[in-house]
């Protein structure tokens, strides 16, 4: 059996990175773009953990945890901003002003689907 070395991990990570970049550049649907960005960040994490094992120090793993946290918060914020700006839903403002937002009912199918453009 061929032993799995650091290079193998790096090749997998580079492949993930390539898939992610091509996904971002070619797709227009926000959800798929977001998933492609997550793929790139997973490539980053794979790199970091592989290098961390190669060098025998934990710094890369610590970095990987921070990248994961950043990725999670980015995804939340991106989807939130997209819904507010592109679908016209205001949760707090509408509730406070007691005016029903005309777009509120259209939230489920109002999610922008760029492929349809």
């Amino acid at each position: 059996m061929l032993p799995i070395t650091t290079v193998h991990y790096l090749v997998v990570a580079a492949a993930l990175f390539g898939i992610g970049v091509s996904g971002v550049l070619t797709r227009r649907s926000p959800v798929i773009v977001l998933m492609s960005i997550e793929l790139i960040l997973n490539a980053v994490n794979l790199n970091l953990v592989a290098f961390s094992r190669m060098w025998g120090n934990p710094q890369g793993q610590v970095f990987a945890i921070f990248v994961t946290v950043a990725a999670a918060s980015q995804a939340v914020v991106a989807v939130g901003v997209l819904i507010v700006l592109a679908c016209g839903v205001v949760a707090r403002g509408a509730a406070r002003n007691r005016e029903p937002s005309p777009n509120h009912a259209s939230l489920p199918n109002g999610l922008p689907n760029g492929d349809a453009e």
């Binding site: 980053v44 290098f51 890369g60 970095f63 921070f66 939130g80 901003v81």
Partner: protein, 508 residues
């Protein structure tokens, strides 16, 4: 590893203090009745002042070579202190100018100020980071609140829904921003692979030993620099800037394009100039090409705009191009040669001036917001001199500064950049820079002309709130004073660089 010492706590005090104020504002906002919302702005302003006080205390005890703390991840040197003051000052001005504007937009919320403060904390992390983990976290901490602030729509946004346009802006600003952050992180992971350490000082040493023709080294350079170039809005990756500028509330546009751009530049200087110093001969030609492309495309695009906010965004991109020009000097000159230092000096002078004048110009547009007038169309500026001579004169000062006409401060940075280019023998680049400055007069004239156009029936005078008035006065005055009497700023920058050349970060 031992625990943290008191000096560590002291170094992070300005950031911790801002974070506490931000969280406090989020809580207090729940109890403030709508007509007392200006208390939020006051609280944020006090927070920034306290933070500046903490920075001042650190500066008093700072050893000349800077102080490393927090398990070697935080390096507070004169460079960091310089930019901390800049960030805090610009944030204070933004807060001062926002209060009335948010009333008009019906967006007066504590979250606005809390996010602003947290974003400043991220910028301070970037300026003082020497560990790539801290720098990455700082970048995300700056960008995520910026995306959220971009999501504030204001009264206009709620009344005049334009979903297709907003969706395009979200795609360009938020999604491409996340994309470039991810590419940047990939580059950082490869840098960690070369050095086995996340510390920038170790990375510099490891990069000094690698073969610059190694494809993996090239990929690491390419991904890291691409990510950073996108943050400073260099040309192939610049499209987020006009989109964000047009869609966001005007104060937020100003905040993103002045303060956010300056913070991105600080990160760029730390990582590309200091962290990748051994490889500067490899990346400098690429950056020079990018600079020329940026100048050309942004100038052409700026000439075609009719929206003031988009025009100012393109003008900010042009200024990015000018600063990038100085990388040809950094690539070709020996470290510690006079031209090398002139190039660094030029960048350090350029950034605060650019921040001030851009912020000022955007705040003038925010001052125009009134009733149904959004203020971002060039036609909204018509007859401004008759409506409010004060605002018109401050706008003129900012435009002079942006165009680089001597009484205002903008010419200083350009002068130093062109001088360092000539000193190092890049005469053709210096000439190109001068040509682009002259072309710049054309599109700044497009903003200046309507201001002094007289209308047959003059519009009613423009009411300007006290906060906005004082912000504009301070910003314009600072721009003028720096331009007329530049010696203190130049001395300050030499003081900052006097140490940057000695630290191990600059590499030997």
């Amino acid at each position: 590893m031992t625990g943290l010492s008191p000096i560590d706590y002291r170094l992070m005090l300005p950031m911790v203090e801002l974070t506490i104020f931000a969280l406090g504002l989020l809580l207090i906002d729940l109890w403030i009745p709508p007509e007392w919302k200006w208390l939020n702005a006051t609280g944020a302003f006090i927070g920034v002042l306290f933070s500046a006080l903490c920075v001042w205390q650190i500066q008093a005890i700072l050893p000349p070579r800077g102080q490393i703390g927090f398990y070697n991840s935080l390096l507070v040197d004169r460079f960091a202190i310089y930019f901390w003051y800049l960030f805090l000052a610009a944030a204070a001005l933004t807060i001062l100018g926002s209060s009335r504007y948010l009333d008009i937009e019906n967006e007066h919320r504590g979250e606005y100020y809390a996010l602003l403060l947290i974003s400043v904390v991220g910028m301070m992390c970037m300026a003082a980071g020497i560990d790539i983990v801290l720098m990455f976290v700082g970048l995300e901490l700056t960008l995520i609140p910026a995306y959220l602030l971009f999501g504030f729509r204001g009264r206009h946004g709620k009344e005049k829904e334009n979903h297709a346009r907003a969706r395009e802006a979200v795609r360009k600003f938020v999604f491409h921003g996340l994309f470039s952050s991810a590419i940047f992180a990939y580059g950082l992971s490869l840098l960690y692979g070369f050095s086995g350490s996340t510390n920038l000082a170790h990375i510099v040493r490891a990069l000094g030993a690698v073969n610059p023709r190694d494809p993996v080294v090239i990929i690491a350079l390419l991904t890291t620099i691409t990510g950073l170039l996108s943050k400073i809005a260099a040309v192939p990756l610049h499209r987020w800037a006009p989109a964000a500028s047009e869609t966001a509330l005007t104060t937020i546009s100003g905040y993103i394009l002045s303060l956010g751009m300056a913070a991105a530049w600080v990160l760029f200087l730390r990582i590309v100039v200091f962290g990748m110093l051994p490889l500067r001969a490899v990346y400098a030609p690429v950056l020079t090409v990018v600079a020329i492309a940026t100048l050309t495309l942004a100038t052409v695009a700026a000439l075609m705009q009719t929206n003031t906010k988009r025009l100012l965004a393109y003008s900010a991109i042009v200024h990015t191009g000018y600063i990038l020009l100085s990388f040809s000097v950094i690539g070709s000159e020996r470290i510690a040669s006079p031209a090398f230092f002139d190039a660094l000096k030029a960048m350090l002078i350029y950034l605060p001036v650019l921040t001030l004048m851009n912020l000022g110009a955007f705040l003038v547009i925010a001052a125009l917001r009134q009733g149904a007038v959004l203020g971002d169309d060039l036609a909204d500026l018509t007859g401004l001199f008759d409506r409010s001579p004060f605002v018109a004169v401050t706008m003129l000062i900012f435009l002079f500064s942006l165009a680089g006409i001597p009484p205002a401060a903008g010419y200083l940075g350009k002068y130093y950049i062109f001088r360092s280019l000539v000193e190092s023998g890049h005469r053709s680049l210096a000439a190109a820079g001068v040509v682009f400055s002259l072309l710049g007069l054309l599109y700044y004239w497009k903003i200046a002309k309507p201001i002094f156009t007289r209308q047959p029936q003059p519009n009613p005078p423009l009411p300007v709130s006290l906060g906005m008035r004082s912000t504009l006065a301070i910003t314009a005055l600072a721009t003028l004073v720096i331009g007329v009497y530049p010696r203190p700023l130049i001395t300050l920058v030499s003081w900052v660089l006097g140490i940057a050349q000695a630290t191990h970060v600059a590499g030997k």
